[in-house]
């Protein structure tokens, strides 16, 4: 079946350090993945996406790595800031069901000043 899961429910980092949030997916989950950031009381906000024909994609201070061999993806945040504190979700798109997203449980990132 389809599943997407995150490895750690919480992650605490020092301001200025790099953060790495990990996610695993099952065989049939998707060939397109999105990372979302969710702040308290708000809806998920798009951070970055990656297609399965790519290994790496970079945005502003964020990088997503996709390892199809072990079915794993990660989100790297450079120079983590207090404003990065939030819950981060990876999601795989299942495009034969209207493009629905399968979400992992989320990792709560706390940034210590």
């Amino acid at each position: 079946g389809e599943s997407v899961g995150l490895h750690l429910p919480t992650l605490s980092v020092q301001e200025g350090d790099n953060s790495i949030i990990n996610c695993a997916y099952s065989n049939s989950a998707s060939d397109y993945f999105i990372w979302y950031k969710q702040e308290s009381g708000k809806g998920p906000q798009f951070i970055i996406d990656i297609r399965s024909n790519m290994d790496k994609r970079q945005g502003q201070r964020v990088t997503v790595l996709l390892n199809k061999t072990v079915k794993h993806l990660s989100l790297q945040i450079a120079a983590t800031q207090p404003g990065d504190s939030a819950v981060y979700f990876c999601a795989g798109m299942v495009y034969n069901q209207g493009g629905k997203l399968i979400f992992g449980q989320g990792t709560e990132l706390s940034v210590k000043p």
Partner: protein, 113 residues
């Protein structure tokens, strides 16, 4: 553009009551979705629509109904509210191509007592 808007923001229902959660998008997106998010969990798909007049069930449709009479609106109906439907509900939309991100509304927090 306002993006995806949802009303109400908060609602308390008694067991057995009914209500409609409203969702509107002004981006002319074909695809729309309803998700629910239980505490500490990722989002789960309730229903989705690939265009006006077309809807289909997601992972957790029991106890809900939807309609899509226009491109802009995608209301979610709870007929007989139950405590298990206490959750935060998110509406989302995307243009329709396979790899487009989903844009989320701010959510409706529903409590059933």
């Amino acid at each position: 553009n306002a993006g995806v808007t949802q009303t109400p923001k908060f609602r308390i229902l008694k067991i057995g009551q009914s209500m409609t959660l409203q969702c509107t998008q002004d981006m002319n997106h074909n695809y729309m979705y309803w998700y629910r998010q239980d505490p500490g969990m990722g989002l789960k798909l309730i229903y989705y629509s690939v265009g006006a007049g077309i809807t289909d069930k997601g992972e957790v449709p029991n106890g809900y109904n939807v309609s899509r009479s226009t491109t802009e609106d995608f209301p979610l109906r709870l007929e007989l509210a139950a405590p298990s439907q206490t959750s935060v509900y998110f509406c989302a939309s995307r243009p329709g191509a396979i790899y487009n991100e989903q844009f989320f509304g701010p959510g409706t927090r529903l409590t059933v007592l």
